[in-house]
């Protein structure tokens, strides 16, 4: 019991929670934008892989860290555009298209990596983002290490939460995206383009998802591994329901998951002799399923989610 309290009070635990949450924040915001516009994007898992690979490879090829971030976002946007074309004007099943994109994007990433580096035994490393050392703030007790020794990408994620909230709630664009996810006819009758709004939202959301992947290779680690995304995209799909499609709650959900994950690593070292390690590895997922079951009962799904809309058919 004392151990648990010690963990919860430690700076490193909270710093780790935020670090683990960062890719999820990007992912859940991306999924949120897509679903608010009425499109489920199950390509998220593959788009994470593409973002991780492209970001890393751009840096490895000498593009610089921010060049890598841009490359990842562009690659994510490209796969988002593919999903958008298939699901919006063509109106194909969003589930099938999304899963197809995940398989396709993952394979293309692995293929590109293997083709570029045919015979390396250990993955080449890059110089990743360093923790921002902000004078004074970083030296604050507790808050300093937790908040002010994170990398620039974590800060970008937090900034994105505020930006997505502002756009969704305070701009005409955000209102139109919410409307197109509820009743596309309402947008069409007012002379706005349903296709344009939906495609735009999917492309932007997918770019954000790819940044979640890029964080893994450019901030959390310094190289690209197979299987490194490891279901983070799927977690985001669950978190967006938990968050009721709200950016603030999305941040909270991602942090909660990050905290569970950080906790299980620490409990594993403390109590590993008593309980098999796999139980701890499972814990965050089981807890997120439980949280989802509770939250999803009252979930207010965007009404037009999964329903294709075709121009001229009223």
């Amino acid at each position: 019991m004392m151990d648990l309290l010690n963990i919860l009070l430690s700076e490193s635990f909270w710093a780790a929670s935020l670090r683990i949450a960062t890719p999820l924040i990007f992912g859940v915001l991306g999924a949120l934008i897509c679903e608010r516009a009425g499109i489920l994007n199950l390509g998220i898992e593959g788009i994470f892989v593409v973002g991780a690979m492209c970001g890393w490879m751009a840096v490895w090829l000498g593009a610089g860290l921010w060049g890598g971030v841009l490359a990842a976002a562009a690659a994510g946007a490209l796969f988002g555009l593919l999903h958008a074309v298939l699901t919006v004007p063509l109106g194909l099943s969003q589930h099938v298209s999304g899963l197809g994109i995940t398989l396709f994007a993952t394979s293309v990433s692995y293929f590109t990596y293997r083709t570029a580096l045919p015979d390396v035994s250990s993955p080449p490393r890059i110089e990743p983002f360093r923790a921002l050392d902000i004078p004074l703030l970083s030296d604050l007790p507790f808050l300093g290490p937790v908040l002010f020794q994170q990398t620039a990408l974590t800060w970008l994620a937090l900034l994105m939460v505020a930006l997505v909230w502002y756009v969704m709630n305070r701009t005409a664009l955000g209102v139109a995206i919410q409307a197109v996810g509820d009743n596309p006819d309402s947008v069409d009758a007012q002379g706005l383009s349903v296709y344009g709004l939906r495609i735009g939202a999917i492309v932007a959301g997918s770019a954000l998802m790819a940044l979640g992947g890029a964080f893994l290779t450019m901030s959390a680690f310094d190289a690209f591994f197979f299987g490194m995304v490891n279901g983070r995209g799927w977690v985001c799909i669950a978190l967006v329901i938990f968050a009721s499609w709200r950016p603030g709650k999305a941040l909270f959900g991602a942090l909660l998951f990050g905290a569970f994950d950080a906790l299980q690593v620490r409990l594993q070292t403390e109590m590993g002799a008593l309980v098999p390690g796999q139980v701890f590895l499972m814990a965050p997922y089981i807890l997120s399923i439980i949280a989802l079951v509770i939250a999803a009962r009252s979930a207010d799904y965007p009404r037009a989610l999964l329903t294709p809309w075709f121009k001229g058919q009223r």
Partner: protein, 518 residues
């Protein structure tokens, strides 16, 4: 001057006050002619009522004006700010909006997760602006509300507004876009009579400021009370036009229905024993349309019982009880004198009830299944249809071939998906399925809605045939003429109560439907 006098009916609109001109609009959907060479004009400040039966082409005509459909022939001219008629590019809702044409569809186009203010301003602000000028929008809307009386809460998500409020938001949407011509598609279909009256008073207030209105309706009462001029469509053609002041209810009704309605021959017949008894049956529904308040009803063999009433007064609840879809919360249901203990659709089919449902596309057929399969879908346990759990495909096909012949179901063949059939042929498929089982009682709910004259007459003929054979029929219809023509006895449903009409007196039944003492 024009604005002050616009309230008075404008019988012969002067050319300089004409705000809209439709010239010879035609539209076909496959083999169906929806509109054939329809021309109309609308004067400034005028309220034009577009009357016609279901399927007469009213909505299609307005959808062409608003750019949802591209006409096959014809043109549209709309007056600009200076009153000069300009030709309107067809097929572009954007162009219609910009020219000052606003349309309120029967099915609202509102996003329920955002508030009325956002729904109204949607699309009229630059999407990429970082800030919105909500205050300016709000004061403009409040100004419109004040002038028109169309009150609606602006800050509540539309999902929480009443139907009447949503309708007002729809109209505010058009007025906010500076619509000079407003098209309302059956605006009162979902409103209470009081809400409807208020709506028309609000519209009148707006016409005094120069708004011109076309409203689609098939309710004669509101048309006579609130329009300046009436145009009647039948089978896609304009068959009449007159000033409301000169209009005569009978003449309009004849124009709508057509004098050439084939009369169904009907022989007098002595009724037999009761086939369906409802005693004190109540249904506790969530809305008025699915509520029944202790109704008694008896249908005898060789008898057609007509249920007249304004839509949404409990017809759905009554139909659901008779077809076993809803269990009564109180009362008894007897078929052929035997109490139905546990009502379910299967139990009712077994007891000998044949159902012609109101929504034939969704409740009458399984669209993805073939015509042949739909023909036997209510008797899958019949040994003629299956043996040891396997379908007898040859027998099913032969059955379908025979029935499509006998009932004249036309379409791409018995193996094709039933959704490919037209509405009239879907109804014939359902008739074939129901009548072949020689049911004791037939529930026909709005059996001719949306059908053309020929198909409607066929339905009437088949119902009379079943009556001669000895079946009882419950005919629920909003079309009083249909009931007067077919029923042996008439009851009026209103507010969940059923009352014997006692005669075939149209006026008396009409008053009972409206809830006024006869």
């Amino acid at each position: 001057m024009a604005e002050g006098s616009a309230f008075a009916p404008t019988l012969f609109p002067m050319t300089n006050s004409t705000v809209l001109r439709l010239n010879g609009l035609s539209k076909r959907f496959g083999p169906v002619v929806a509109n054939d060479d329809v021309s109309l004009t609308l004067a400034k400040g005028e309220v034009l009522a577009l009357l016609g039966e279901n399927g007469a082409g009213k909505t299609t005509l307005m959808n062409m004006l608003f750019g949802h459909y591209l006409p096959d022939a014809g043109s549209v001219e709309v007056a600009d700010e200076n009153g000069v008629l300009q030709s309107l590019p067809l097929g572009h809702p954007q162009a219609a909006l910009a020219a000052g044409v606003g349309m309120v569809h029967q099915h609202f186009a509102l996003a329920e997760n955002i508030n009325a203010l956002d729904n109204i301003t949607l699309g009229s602000e630059p999407l990429l602006a970082l800030r919105r000028n909500r205050q300016a929008a709000r004061s403009k809307i409040e100004g419109i509300i004040e002038r028109s009386g169309l009150k609606a809460p602006l800050n509540t998500p539309v999902g929480r507004l009443s139907v009447g409020e949503r309708q007002r938001v729809e109209i505010l949407k058009a007025l906010y876009r500076d619509a000079r011509i407003l098209v309302l598609d059956e605006p009162t279909a979902v409103l209470t009579p009081q809400e409807a009256d208020t709506l028309f008073e609000n519209i009148k207030a707006m016409t005094r400021e120069g708004l011109s209105v076309i409203f689609i309706s098939h309710k004669l009462r509101e048309v006579l009370a609130f329009s300046d001029r009436i145009a009647v469509l039948r089978h896609g053609r304009k068959v009449g036009e007159m000033a409301t002041a000169d209009a005569d209810e009978k003449a309009i009704a004849r124009m709508m229905v057509g004098a050439d309605t084939p009369k169904v021959a009907r022989t007098e017949m002595a009724p037999g024993g009761p086939v369906l008894n409802l005693t004190e049956v109540s249904v506790a529904g969530r809305s008025k349309r699915d509520t029944l308040k202790g109704v008694d009803l008896t249908v005898r063999a060789h008898e057609i019982l007509g249920i007249a009433g304004i839509s949404g007064n409990g017809q759905s609840a009554l139909a659901n009880v008779i077809s076993g879809l809803a269990a009564p919360s109180a009362g008894h249901v007897q078929v052929d004198g035997i109490e139905v203990a546990k009502p379910s659709p299967a139990a009712m089919v077994k007891a000998g009830i044949g159902r012609i449902p109101e929504d034939r596309h969704h409740e009458g057929i399984v669209g993805a299944m073939s015509v042949a399969e739909n023909m036997v879908i209510e008797r899958l346990d019949d040994p003629e249809v299956q043996s040891r759990g396997l379908l007898r495909r040859d027998a099913i096909r032969d059955n379908a071939e025979r029935l499509t012949q006998a009932y004249d179901v036309r379409g791409p063949g018995v193996a094709a998906s039933s959704r490919l059939l037209s509405g009239g042929n879907i109804q014939k498929l359902i008739l074939a399925r129901v009548f072949e089982r020689a049911p004791r009682l037939i529930l026909a709910n709005q059996p001719t809605r949306g059908l053309d004259m020929g198909a409607a007459a066929e339905v009437g003929r088949r119902l009379l045939e079943a009556r001669e054979r000895g079946a009882g029929v419950v005919l629920i219809s909003e079309d009083l003429d249909e009931i007067l023509g077919l029923a042996d006895r008439i009851m009026v449903i209103r507010d969940g109560n059923l009352v014997e009409a006692g005669s075939h007196d149209r006026e008396k039944i009409g008053l009972m439907m409206a809830g006024e003492p006869a």
